[in-house]
Amino acid sequence: MDLFLNILSWVCLLSGGFLGVTGAVGLFRFPDFFTRLHAASVTDTLSTILIVIGLMLQANSWMMIVKLLLVLLIITYTSPTSAHSLAKSALHSGLKPFLKDKENNNS
Amino acid sequence: MNMFLGLYNYWIVIILMMTGFYIVIAKGNLLKKVVGLNIFQTSVIIMYVSMAKVKDGAAPILTEGVEIFSNPLPHVLMLTAIVVGVATTALALALIVSIYEEYGSVEEDEIHEQDGSF
């Protein structure tokens, strides 16, 4: 039974890790701040969820599982707010998003 | 090669120490000096903690089921050193605020122009 759990946690962790790396790479490959924000939110959401679940599977006491859950709760609860305020603040400071559609595509 | 691998903590200590030292000396901005000072103090904290490491010893906080701990003394000392560091930084920032009120700047050379006090 715990072999199965081990493999499952291993899978979660690695996939979480992969998603993290993707997000990081996205930070570089995307042209402007707003697009990078999307890439970053990948690392914030699914990657964190997977990694924490992976860790919970490895935990050796109920207390640890509860605490890991709390950590996950805080991150998923705060990440949208911080992303929103980041974007809003950038917008207000006059940062124009890089738009791909035909008409007003700036240089 | 184990000179580097085996003692990589202490290499980090030295790098941090010299960075902090450089910032304190080279940077004219008073705030950056305080940052440099903090980096300098952090390097010492890392030195003490790495000195305390016992082979596969856990963090020196008593928990059931854990037998081998790292040496708690340096950790305790570093608590004090951190407190001292915080106090020094707080005082330094308070001074910087007063200096800014008096001189209108936190740049050493601008202050120096006013009455050659640096």
Binding site: - | F40, Y48, V84, I96, I99, E102
Partner: protein
């Protein structure tokens, strides 16, 4: 109950009363409270000194934790002597500060001054009395932080920048000391100074210990402002309130020298520090320029507090020169000058405080005609100056005598000449003041200045009087310094 845990009381009393100051709101009340505490502290250190003289070194374990875990307070020949100096100066300066602080520090900051003053006193006493190396660092930071605050209370805005500079260099110094202590702990596993002294010899020739002594020396030399690490001192003493300059000049650097003696002689031992490691040459190479450059720069200063600050740099050079000779006479001269310089320099700064009390600052132009308008203050400055020069019948002469004797014992007669030339330079910058005061008439436009108030004069003359008294009746000081030197030289291997 009280008598057997006096060592703990020595630090705890000022430490606790520092926050208590903030409760009593009226400055006069706070001053009185602080004075009572300082006098009590002085009482304790006198009691400790007599105890040490009768029964030898006292060891006191804080909270009954035996070393090396618990912190041991150790009062021996050297520390009891320095304890007395610090608390004596502390008591005299606080008597003085009541009036002087009224003019020099804004009312709302005065309570802060007294609180920081008590903290500084507690810190300094702590450094001297503690037997635990890391504890030295902690008390060092307590005293240093309160010192930066005290310096920043000066009414000239440059006090702020001076305090900031002092903070940066002081913290660097303290951190160097922390690194040194860490390296020692790494090799010996103990922080208690007596234990360290026991265990260091078998790890002496390791690179870590050499690094440790190097870090410690540089850190401590920064704290005691030995040339060329003295850059923070002139501005700090010049722009700090007069009471602060007096207190610092007479105690802070002295305690740092005590720490140097404690670490180098008791922990590392003379043979290692002075024969294996070039401690003697290093300290001498730093102290000789300290004497010459310190005094020469002092001559050209317009702000007299800065003049005295540079003179302090030179006088510290004398003390370290004595110690660098690593002989009983040499260390005796160092420790003697520790006490003597505290008296004369403290007195001189207090006298300048009297001038600043009336004129707001102590620059050379304020000295015009002082001979007539403030005769007693000016007389104090002349006597203090003579003691600085080292004229016979003053304390300065006594320490200079032993220093020259120590250099001759080692056969370095050129260094003896350097010491004497240093005194000549002192003649020049002191006579600059005498001529300004006694030969110029007060030009009519000047505000009518009268003698400094009694509350300023009495402490000044207490110190200046002492610098004459101990120039003649020297049994107490020479005996204490001699015993301390023998203990230090003997302790080392």
């Amino acid at each position: 109950m009280i008598s057997n845990n006096l060592p703990a009381l020595q630090i705890v009393l000022p430490l606790i009363s520092a926050p208590l100051c903030l409760i009593l709101f009226r400055p006069k009340l706070v001053w009185f409270f602080t004075m009572v505490i300082c006098l009590a502290t002085l009482g304790i250190s006198v009691e400790l000194l007599s105890a040490v003289v009768n029964t030898g070194a006292i060891s006191y374990e804080m909270g009954n934790w035996a070393p090396p875990w618990g912190i041991e307070l150790r009062v021996d020949e050297v520390s009891s002597f320095v304890l007395l100096i610090v608390s004596l100066i502390g008591a005299i300066v606080i008597l003085y500060a009541g009036k002087s602080v009224e003019r020099e520090i804004a009312p709302h900051k005065q309570t802060l001054f007294y609180s920081a003053y008590l903290l500084c006193l507690a810190g300094l006493l702590g450094i001297v009395i503690t037997g635990d190396a890391f504890n030295v660092f902690v008390f060092l930071e307590i005293s240093s932080l309160s010192t930066y605050t005290l310096v920043s209370l000066g009414n000239d805005r440059r006090a702020l920048t001076a305090a900031f500079q002092y903070l940066i260099m002081g913290t660097l110094g303290a951190t160097f000391i922390l690194i040194g202590i860490g390296l020692m702990y790494m090799m010996t596993g103990t922080l208690n100074i007596q234990d360290l002294a026991g265990r260091i010899p078998d790890v002496l020739d390791t690179r870590t210990i050499r690094a440790s002594i190097a870090f410690l020396t540089v850190g401590i030399c920064l704290k005691l402002a030995l040339f060329p690490l003295h850059l923070w001192l002139p501005n700090s003493y010049a722009y700090a309130p007069s009471a602060v300059s007096a207190f610092l000049s007479a105690t802070a650097t002295k305690v740092a020298i005590y720490v140097l003696l404690r670490f180098v002689f008791i922990i590392f031992g003379v043979t290692f520090a002075f024969e294996v490691m070039p401690m003697g040459t290093v300290l001498m190479l730093m102290s000789i320029p300290a004497i010459l450059i310190g005094s020469t720069v002092a001559i050209f200063q317009q702000n007299i507090k800065r003049l005295l600050a540079y003179s302090s740099v030179a006088q510290i050079g004398y003390m370290i020169l004595g110690i660098s000779l690593a002989s009983v006479t040499g260390i005796t001269s160092g420790i003697l000058h520790l006490f003597n310089h505290a008296l004369m320099k403290g007195g001189l700064f207090l006298a300048l405080g009297g001038i600043a009390y009336h004129m707001g600052a102590a620059r050379i132009e304020h000295f015009k005609g002082l001979g007539q308008t403030m005769p007693w203050t000016m007389a104090a400055i002349v006597v203090g100056g003579l003691s600085l020069i080292g004229v016979p019948l003053t304390v300065g002469f006594i320490s200079k005598w032993y220093l020259v004797l120590a250099t001759l014992e080692q056969g370095y007669w050129p260094i003896a000449v350097v010491v004497l030339v240093g005194s000549l330079l002192a003649v020049i910058y002191m006579w600059k003041l005498v001529e300004a005061a006694y030969f110029n008439k007060v030009d009519e436009g000047e505000v009518v200045v009268k003698e400094a108030p009694l509350q300023l004069l009495i402490p000044t003359w207490l110190l200046i009087g002492a610098s004459l008294y101990f120039g003649i009746h020297t049994e107490l000081t020479i005996d204490a310094a001699q015993k301390a030197a023998e203990m230090l030289m003997g302790a080392g291997r």
